[in-house]
């Protein structure tokens, strides 16, 4: 068997990715008390993002999934330029962002974010018109496509499904429902005609019956305007519904990435398998589940970072395959196990591509059967 190719951060696809992240590290310094400082102890460092490579192509919806504390929100915030990376770089259309204010300003117009809670994201004392127009004013745009501000705001509101837009101009956020507020937030992104939207749990604060409509809107934006989307979510059902590719994060690293159908129905990594097993479903309580809490990014284990919780290590599967020592002692990068489908797992790599583990989640029987 030939040595599988390792994920180098460069794609086989010829087109330049809209956003590319190379070997990104973000860490947060803890505080040291006076006593501990005098005793010579240094601050704990949380490595929230610990070496991430990622590419987002035009018109692609990429879901970033994982438990809370895995670094998915920090990664999204860093891509937005809201956190400063310790190492690594972010490229927009092939150009490194660096620290140039001018490039960053342009970048922040073309990459927009949708936060989880629209009520917190909107200023309660600003009218809907002001909230949407503010983005234009910050970027000094008075006319675009031959349209004045008012028409641009109206067009953005209409595109996000608030029709007729004029009816919403003078309303305040408290006069709208949760779903409408999220549409206003999305209009605030659209008014700048971005190439990329980063959405951090875009529907988890919304009512269940409203979620579908917001997801339809997001997918429509991709189809109509070719906007690339990075959707941060803990909900694999959501990833299944809208994403082209899924990246699963664990303790600051992407441990598996690939096409949605592949990752969510034929996962290689034991962590992805564990996540799929806790998706609530009828009869799901009898399925095996991981014990323990979400891990602590100040104490990342040696070797494969998942090995202390890995069911394959505990059950002796890894030992039987002769990789247990590597699991415990050897850190690893993503390995391409199927075309476009990468996972960071010694066991999956040792087994190669021949033996796929069966899907833990067979499709629900069709209705009426």
């Amino acid at each position: 068997m030939s040595e599988p190719a390792t994920w180098s951060g460069t794609s086989k696809e010829t087109a330049t990715p809209v956003v590319e992240v190379r070997d990104l590290h973000v860490s947060f310094q803890g505080r040291v008390g006076i006593g501990a400082g005098l005793a010579g102890r240094s601050a704990t460092v949380a490595r929230a993002v610990d070496g991430v490579n990622l590419q987002l192509h035009q018109g692609e919806v990429l879901a970033l999934a994982g438990e809370s504390g895995c670094g998915k929100t920090t990664l999204a915030r860093t891509i937005m330029g809201l956190e400063r990376p310790k190492e690594g770089e972010i490229l927009f259309e092939g150009v490194s962002l660096g620290t140039s204010t001018k490039i960053l300003r342009e970048y922040r117009r073309r990459v927009q974010i949708v936060f989880q809670d629209p009520t917190a994201a909107l200023n309660p004392r600003q009218t809907i018109y002001e909230s949407v127009a503010e983005a234009l004013r910050i970027h000094g745009i008075t006319r675009q496509d031959g349209m004045p501000e008012e028409e641009l705001v109206a067009r953005a509101l209409a595109r996000s499904g608030l029709r007729p837009p004029e009816r919403f101009f003078l309303l305040y956020p408290h006069e709208l429902s949760g779903g409408q507020r999220q549409r206003v937030v999305i209009a605030g992104c659209l008014v700048l005609e971005p190439e990329v939207i980063v959405a951090d749990e875009p529907v988890s604060s919304l009512d269940a019956s409203v979620r579908g409509e917001i997801l339809k809107l997001l997918l429509g934006l991709r189809d109509d305007f070719g906007i690339a989307m990075l959707v941060v979510t803990h909900d694999l059902g959501l990833a299944w519904t809208i994403a082209d590719r899924v990246a699963v994060m664990y303790l600051g690293r992407i441990v598996e990435i690939g096409p949605t159908e592949e990752v969510l129905t034929r996962p290689f990594h034991p962590y992805t398998q564990a996540l799929l097993q806790v998706v609530p479903e009828a009869g799901g309580l009898s399925r095996p589940q991981l014990t323990g809490e979400a891990p602590d990014p100040t104490r990342i284990p040696e070797g494969c970072r998942f090995h202390p919780r890995c069911p394959q290590v505990v059950s002796g599967e890894a030992s039987a395959a002769g990789v247990e020592d590597r699991c415990r002692g050897e850190d690893l990068a993503l390995i391409e196990l199927q075309p476009g489908h990468f996972a960071a797992c010694h066991l999956a790599a040792a087994r190669g591509t021949g033996t796929l583990s069966p899907s833990p989640n067979p499709p629900r029987p069709a209705e009426g059967t």
């Binding site: 959501l238 309580l285 809490e293 009426g368």
Partner: protein, 325 residues
Amino acid sequence: MTVLSVRDLEVAYKTQVGPIPAVRGVSLDIESGEVLGLAGESGCGKSTIVNAILRLLPAGTQVSGEVLLNGEDVLAMKPGRMRAVRWTQASVIFQGAMHALNPVQRIGDQLAEAIVIHGQADEREAMVRVGALLEQVGLPPRRLRDYPHELSGGQKQRVMIAMALACSPSLVIADEPTTALDVMVQAQVLRLLNELQRELGLAMLFITHDLSVLVEVCDRLAIMYAGKIVEEGPSQEVFGRPAHPYTAALAAAFPAVGDPRFRRKPSGLGGDPPQPDAVPSGCSFHPRCPVAFEPCPDTDPDLYPAGKGRRAACLLVRDGVEVTS
């Protein structure tokens, strides 16, 4: 034996513009050893029902109907009797364990307090009981000396569960017990609740907006919309083959991973859940209903039989038309 029986419960909150109905005629029964799931979106009145059962509603709220707890009408109890019944007969696991515990008191003391106040044991015996309770919910008994901030979210929720069990109630109400928790921890807490419920033969009312969680833990489901139950029946059947169009829409919001019917096809309802002060006429769901027809805006449907052990409040069900496409 029927532990909880709610009959024609109506609750209207007092506001400056007059009473606003939050619950508009709800009846439900829970047998001992049974788990009933109550699902619905924010503002549908599900938490109001919890508060009505334990009489925790603000003063001035209009409540009518009957809430029979082990055969005794809660709404007619004197305050002293009410205090005795709370926790010894019915207890609640509230949502957001993070805020429900006193941050400056050791968790052991908080648990013991509930036992001592209800006169079930003196302080020494109570502490022994607390140790056993913690063990029951999967925490080492030595943790009773911890303060809430020393525990993780999942551990705090376990303490809340221990607290709900402290006085051996016959009914436990779980009000969104896992919403604030992470996916992996949520699965652990759900399994714990499920095991305890079976072991102790508890009657349980499980409330959440997450239909997929309810299917996992409940025997029967009741779906609420705008203050009324619109569908009820065995949970797998209600979720798998909804009779009411609202249930169908709600079920579709929780897609099964791997099911091609949901792939790249987000489905939802237009519009928003109604405000309690502006509930539409007739069937309250008709403005958002994909299959509404002429009589819907004028006729408020009752719960009609919809198969074995199932009922649904939809005129199509009354007329025997299959709703699910």
